[in-house]
Amino acid sequence: MEFDLGYLLQQLPALRAGLLLTVEASGIAILLSLALGLLGASLRVLRVPVLSQAVAFYVEFIRNTPLLVQLFFVFFGLPVIGVTLSLFWSGVLALVLWAGAFQVENIRGGLLAVSPGLREAARALGLGRAQYLLLVGLPLAVRIGLPAMLNTGVSLIKNSAYLSAIGVQEFSGVAFDRIASDFRAFEMLAVLLVGYLAVVLSLSAGVRLLEHRLQAPFRR
């Protein structure tokens, strides 16, 4: 079987719609997972009783279970106990829960890297712990942890392909559907290869560039 460019061009609109859905799901999930990460990392660093331990357990649990099973749990399991979400939002929720755990650790790592002198200075200026976190700690932690946070975001975009497993018609979902219905594997696999490599490589390169820029003040 040979490569049929005409067929590929014909499928472009469907693939573009899939790519848009990938971007949409990933975009929402990245923002929500960052919010979850900020909240979780703050609870951990402020050592809020019970909640801090709960966040620590959540992080361990997510990191030690497969994303695919988490996705199945959200999509097939939660409706049984009355939490019914649409296909799209089930997928987004699973991605948020998954990436959120990594963002908690990224941001917590950033917070722990802020020099203790700043914390003492904030204390001396009369800032409370929550004020220190909001005004001093988190802004600096985000700067320190930004490359790691963005890398998790890139991983999330890549792993949004998992949503095709529950039938979300995102980029890879569309391509797999076409392979099954039209028996044309090469064209679709080539698109997936090029598509994901282009997105992931360009974003990772962007992250590296940003990392370099962010370190500029600390370079001699």
């Binding site: 079987m1 361990e60 649990f61 990191r63 030690n64 279970t65 497969p66 994303l67 695919l68 099973v69 988490q70 199945f72 749990f73 097939f76 399991g77 939660l78 409706p79 049984v80 106990i81 991983s155 890549k158 792993n159 392909a161 998992y162 095709s164 497993a165 890879s172 797999f176 392979i179 099954a180 594997a185 090469f186 696999l189 997936l192 290869l193 994901y196 490599l197 992931v200 490589l201 990772s204």
Partner: protein, 232 residues
């Protein structure tokens, strides 16, 4: 709970398949990883570029796409693959890319004076690797490698999508069966159980990984950071 107990034999079959898949993948990924990781530690630029191409390709393409591409693409090349070997191949190529990155980091972590001293003593290149670099790199890669095994075990769950009866698929079968035969939907209960088993299995490994990392760090050698070398 009784549903889980009644279906323990099926879960056990699934778990065996999961562990077998993980073991095969670990072995193949190690071979690939040592080969490419070593190539990547050699001088020639083009060799490094070649290794980087392999590593980046399989780490940047979603693993689910790699596995589907192999399973659904193989028949088009005239050599259809059974689900198990297709998944094992996909996992090995991805695991091998991660392993290569770990091995390369491990070799780089050995002080450069070691290789120089070995050269000065007249050892050949293969002797330098076999007798000096690999043994020392082994210590540095252990923590990250243990972490990789946990990731591999998690990733074997993708086998469920193409028809390997591994642990996740076993759970799916139990749910299907009870829905058809008993008219109940135990998805919440069963998938909770499946999550829990993966959690127990993998957290043992990640805890071990962290302990190894700490111990190595206190002995003065810098371990390969699992965080940088592994990519989900």
């Amino acid at each position: 709970m009784s549903l889980i107990l009644e279906n323990l034999p099926l879960f056990f079959i699934g778990l065996k398949s999961t562990l077998l898949l993980a073991a095969v993948t670990l072995a193949a990924a190690t071979l690939i990883g040592v080969f490419f990781g070593t190539l990547g530690s050699l001088k020639p630029r083009w060799l490094r570029a070649l290794v980087a191409l392999y590593v980046e390709t399989f780490r940047d393409i979603p693993l689910i796409v790699t596995i589907f591409a192999i399973f659904f693409g193989a028949p088009f090349l005239g050599m259809p693959l059974e689900p198990f070997p297709a998944v094992a191949l996909g996992l090995s190529l991805w695991g091998g890319a991660n392993a290569a990155e770990i091995v390369r980091g491990g070799i780089a972590s050995v002080a450069s004076g070691q290789a120089e001293a070995a050269t000065a003593l007249g050892l050949r290149l293969w002797q330098i690797y076999l007798l000096v670099l690999w043994p020392q790199a082994l210590r540095a890669v252990l923590p990250a490698y243990t972490g990789l095994l946990a990731l591999i075990i998690q990733s074997t769950s993708l086998g469920a999508l193409v028809g390997v009866t591994e642990f996740l698929k076993a759970g799916g079968l139990v749910i299907e069966r009870s829905t058809v035969m008993l008219g109940i939907n135990p998805a919440f209960e069963i998938y909770s159980f499946v999550l829990l088993v993966y959690f127990l299995l993998c957290s043992i490994l990640t805890t071990l990984s962290r302990r190894l990392e700490r111990r190595l760090a206190s002995s003065g050698q810098r371990p390969v950071a699992a965080r940088d070398a592994l990519q989900l």
